[in-house]
Amino acid sequence: MKELILEYIRHEYLDEDEAADMVLDDRTPLISSGIVDSFSMVSLKRFLEKKNGINIPDEEATPQAFDTVASIMVLVNKHLAKKGA
């Protein structure tokens, strides 16, 4: 899942030359560093919902929760667990 999200971010938010230069891992700040602007993160939210069959409420899709792939994974796993329950 982590790799899938990182790949999506590379394709959706970075230009080719930026993607080549940048080290992107699950701890890289996304929103606070400006890689992903909070306005454009909506497509990432939809991607996560579609891939995992979950619904992330808007109030939980905060810039803080989406700031690293690690924090995104926490949010996704919470909703996956809810789905499985």
């Binding site: 230009d15 560093s33 454009s40």
Partner: protein, 415 residues
């Protein structure tokens, strides 16, 4: 008193935080009409000094043009100062409708509705025409007022990488199940000075059955052979569904904006757009002066031609001097410094040299993309631009950045 000390302290802490980040905005007092040369008091209390203004949106130099000022005076005498009403109650005069008709003709659309500002036009238009079954697909660098308008609208929204047509096409394909797909772009991007590839956008819109929204605020009056805008420049005049633009930049620079486009869209704005329904009519002197501006621009392209010549000169001159700029085809010429502190320091030193410019940095532009945005005007003449150029060279030499590329500047100052 409900303004408790804890609240007051919290606000003070917010302000301190803004100052600490170095993004506190200060006004500089200008003691003369808006023009290419202005008298500026800065810092507050200092004696005024005359500087070359390279940061106004006064692209055509019409902000203080005698014919425009005279038209405003006449309307002040004949139609009064204010309307004390929204348009649909008792706030519409003959001049308002005349201006809407002239803007329609100038922009090559079917109808036009005036707003108090283009920010209001952008805030009102999406909500007025789109619903939950629709999607707005916007360029990632559109103006903040469009972002606000999109946020107020219940339609789905998505974004594409700046001016990336392959990415836009992918998004159009993804959203084929929506009732309306609205592509949203600026004509000229205000921080970069580049033009949206509108011919390609219109072609994609036709291919994928989408509508096109264009905010041409930094283009109306001077981009395109006769200054009609970016749609004229790219040969798609008459093909844009919705244009928003401002009277607050090249067209006299006072205030006011509009939505111009398909007849039904404009009519829906008159019924539903909240900034139109709940905000006062444009003041009569502004409406009348804007009519005068359109008369001047329809009679001759002299001003936009001079602006183009100035912009071409300036782009080449600053590159020849050894600065890095963003490529573009507009009178917005960003001089790239990449480092936020460097941008502020250079701007401050240029002011001391008699050139008024402003440094921009994150979050206004992307991190590591700090710059000084220079904006040309038809009011600039060669001696002024030469003088400004010499100042840029002098300050650039002080910092040792002339001839350095992006990598060189970042190595020296950090990003």
């Amino acid at each position: 008193m409900a303004y408790a000390s804890t609240i007051k302290e919290a606000f003070q802490a917010d302000l301190a935080g803004i100052r600490e980040k170095g993004i506190y905005k200060e006004e500089r007092y200008i003691h003369s009409p808006q023009a290419a040369h202005i008298q500026v008091e800065y810092p507050r209390g200092a004696p005024t000094r005359e500087v070359v203004n390279l940061c106004a949106n006064n692209y055509l130099g019409l902000s203080s043009h005698p014919d425009v000022v005279a038209a405003a005076h006449r309307a002040l005498d004949e139609r009064g100062y204010g309307m004390s009403s929204v348009r649909f109650i008792c706030g519409t005069q003959d001049v308002h409708r005349q201006l809407e008709e002239k803007l329609t003709e100038f922009l090559g659309t079917e109808d036009t509705i005036l707003f108090a500002s283009c920010l209001d036009a952008n805030a009102g238009v999406f909500e007025a025409i789109l619903g939950p079954d629709d999607v707005m697909i916007s360029d990632r660098l559109v103006h903040a007022s469009i972002v606000d308008g999109i946020r107020l609208c219940k339609a789905m929204h998505d974004t594409y990488k700046h001016a990336d047509m392959a990415h836009l096409e992918q998004k159009l394909q993804e959203h084929q199940d929506r009732r309306i797909r609205l592509i949203i772009t600026d004509g000229v991007f205000s921080m970069d000075g580049d033009l949206a590839p509108l011919d390609q956008i219109v072609a994609l819109a036709e291919q994928y059955h989408a509508m096109v929204f264009l905010d041409d605020s930094h283009a109306t009056g001077f981009i395109g052979k006769t200054g009609r805008g970016v749609h004229e420049h790219f040969g798609v005049f008459g093909n844009i569904d919705i244009i928003t633009t401002t009277l607050g930049k090249a067209l006299g620079g006072a205030s006011g904006g509009c939505v111009s486009g398909r007849k039904e869209i404009v009519e829906l704005c008159r019924q539903r757009a909240r900034p139109y329904l709940f905000s006062n009519a444009v003041p009569p002197p502004i409406a009348a002066a804007s009519l005068k501006v359109l008369e001047i621009l329809s009679a001759t392209t002299e001003r936009r031609d001079k602006l183009e010549a100035n912009a071409n000169f300036w782009r080449k001159a600053v590159v020849d001097a050894g600065f890095v700029i963003k490529d573009g085809d507009s009178p917005i010429v960003p001089i790239m410094l990449f480092n936020a502190k460097l941008a502020q320091d250079v701007a401050r030193d240029l002011f001391a040299e008699g050139v008024y410019v402003v440094g921009f940095f994150f979050p206004v532009v992307a991190a590591g993309q700090a710059r000084i945005r220079t904006q040309l005007s038809a009011d600039h003449d060669m001696p002024m631009l030469q003088r400004a150029l010499e100042s840029f060279k002098k300050v650039g030499a002080t910092y040792g950045i002339l001839g350095l590329d992006k990598k060189g500047i970042i190595e020296k100052f950090g990003s």
